[in-house]
């Protein structure tokens, strides 16, 4: 009798751990996507984009607020329209901020992107109003595998993340523009001497990374509706994912994201749940101190 009970408990525990792993992995892919986006801009401009949580939010607002709710587009054209709108915005931001700022001190760069984020945030509040909005029925629902429950949005996130990663890697390895981007990442001056248009390159990278931002924004709508604070935590964890995976490495960002997603969920089970963010950030600091090149990183930080 007691053996039965123990077995039951073990099975129960097993199920719970499996469920935790699943949601950890799903959130991990979100963090990983954010990390990829950071990495792209970091590689091409050497700046960290501190406004990017607001760009994720902006993408979600443009999609849900402008295209779906205001103009009544159906989901697919709305997604395309959002990405196009964000790319226009990216080009604008690239030419007004990132390109002129590329030779500025890290301090100025950080502060100006932070302020850009604040400006976007306030504009969104003024334009779309303070209430949270959502797109009903967009990617909702769930999939059951045995006792395991996976939100449909999670599955989509994992697929999209993998597709984006694969496309980016292909783009970087095979296309001329991608190769040029890698050159710029390694040495801006040498690249411009070799006839690579560094400014155009930066613009393309920023456009790509902003579109990834907007895609992240779209993907998380079914998880927690569109509101101004929607990306504040995932953007910080995305940083952490990038660093833990190895800054500058695209697959590393995904690995780092998975690491954080899983660790924080397990930690949330052991400690009071609200401490899981603390655990994620402690991991980040430890990683920076013990192995600053990250799990997959090769380059030494200097």
């Amino acid at each position: 009798m007691s053996i039965v009970r123990v077995t039951k408990e073990v099975v129960f525990l097993y199920k719970i751990i499996l469920q935790l792993l699943v949601s950890g992995i799903a959130m991990g892919f979100v963090y990983g996507l954010v990390g990829i986006e950071y990495t792209l801009i970091w590689n091409s401009t050497g700046l960290l984009n501190f406004s990017h949580e607001r760009i994720i939010m902006l993408g979600a607002y443009i999609f849900a607020g402008s295209f779906v709710l205001q103009t009544g587009l159906s989901v697919l054209p709305a997604i395309v329209a959002t990405i196009i709108a964000i790319i226009f915005f990216a080009v604008f931001v690239a030419y007004t901020i990132f390109i002129p700022l590329r030779n500025m001190s890290a301090l100025c760069a950080i502060m100006s992107t932070v302020m850009l984020g604040n400006i976007i945030n306030e504009s969104v509040r003024l334009y779309y109003g303070p209430e949270a909005i959502t797109v009903k029925g967009f990617l909702t629902g769930m999939i059951r595998i045995g006792t395991l429950v996976v939100a449909r949005a999670y599955v989509v996130i994992i697929f999209v993340a993998l597709i984006i990663l694969a496309l980016l890697l292909l783009f970087m390895m095979k296309t001329k523009t991608g190769k040029a981007m890698r050159c710029v990442a390694q040495n801006k001056n040498a690249s411009s001497l070799m006839g690579i248009d560094v400014q155009k390159n930066m613009m393309i990278t920023i456009a790509i990374s902003f579109s990834i931002c907007s895609i992240i924004g779209l993907l998380v709508i079914p998880l927690y509706s569109v509101k101004q604070s929607m990306a504040s935590m995932i953007s910080l964890k995305g940083f952490a994912a990038g660093v833990i995976g190895g800054f500058g490495s695209l697959p590393g960002a995904i690995v780092g994201g998975l690491f954080i997603g899983i660790i924080e969920n397990i930690a949330g089970m052991i400690f009071p749940s609200t401490f899981k963010d603390v655990v994620a950030f402690v991991c980040l600091i430890l990683m920076l101190l013990l192995r600053p090149s990250g799990i997959l990183g090769k380059k030494r930080i200097s």
Partner: protein, 376 residues
Amino acid sequence: MKRTFSILLAMMLLLTVLAPSVVASEETIKIGLLATLTGYPLNGEHMAKGAQMAVDEINEAGGILGKKVELDIQDVGNTTDVGINSCNLLISNKVVSIVGPHYSSTCLAIENLINAAKIPMLVGGTSPKIAKIDNDYLFRIRASDTMQAVAAAKYLVEGLDAKNVAILYGSDDFGTGGMEIASEHFSSVGVDWVAHPFNNEDTDVTTQILKCITSGCDSVMIWATEAAYPIVARQLYELGLIVPTITNPSLAVDSCLAQLEQEWVEDWYCVTDFLTSNSEEKVQNFIKAYEAKYGTEESVDLHCAAYYSGVKLVADAIERAGSTDTDAIRNALMETKDFEGIIGTMNPNENGEFIHEIILAQCNDLKVSYIKTIGE
């Protein structure tokens, strides 16, 4: 060129700081409103609209004591610093009383200021901590958390026969306050309970819900701000924890319901101080007037109703006091008897709490319907 511009910019910034302040006019009676207009979470706009509507109605009816009423709206952001500044600004603008703020933490930060300035403040902060403060100028125009949470906990135990409750609460002042009161009640009636917090920024509450499931709970109580509902409700449904659930008033706010899917919150209960489906005449009239003023797409919620009532209550008190002396207003407020507010009949107790009733409601097909009113 750039240097000239830089100098001009620098000079401009310096001059802005030295800009003279606006002098308060003596012609009108000023009522201050402290609302969260920037920062998170945002409900200040609704507060401001409700309060403004009250002021407009009063002015249309000829004002108070022959004078027009003016609403001085100031943003408290979501930090205590901005809250302190805006409260001081209102005091220096010579308002006769202050309505708001909505959040208990801001109330706690500024209560000593209004006490020193002897200006009555009618807050919507519901934390039990506020009731414990010895401050003669602090009034509450919403049902306290103590009342709300106890009502919710009582209904879980008595109405829904809960034996083992899981409390999911936001780790902010609001959620923690509700959890403390409810858990105390559960302990006192011998019901098992577990409580799991989540942060407002959390994007995933799987661990918390799994912990609830492991505890073998037969009912759930949620105490959190609106922002948490889309995540918590969805994951409760997905992870299959579908048991009798009762929540704080956030569920009854239309903008919150708009973000939820029908099956997530089917049959959930909530306690609330304002319900659009409440068939009482004063409520329906208020909704009609509000929609006529601001257009129909603007959803009416408890914020509009509570602060509308607050302003009306202050106006009534000034009328009764017959002067704009703040102490007279304060005394008149304390002498209020059966003032008909939109969110209930207002009668002050010795702690300055005006509302002593709460509505129990249930959500069906994303419509929250009235069940009954619970008195204290």
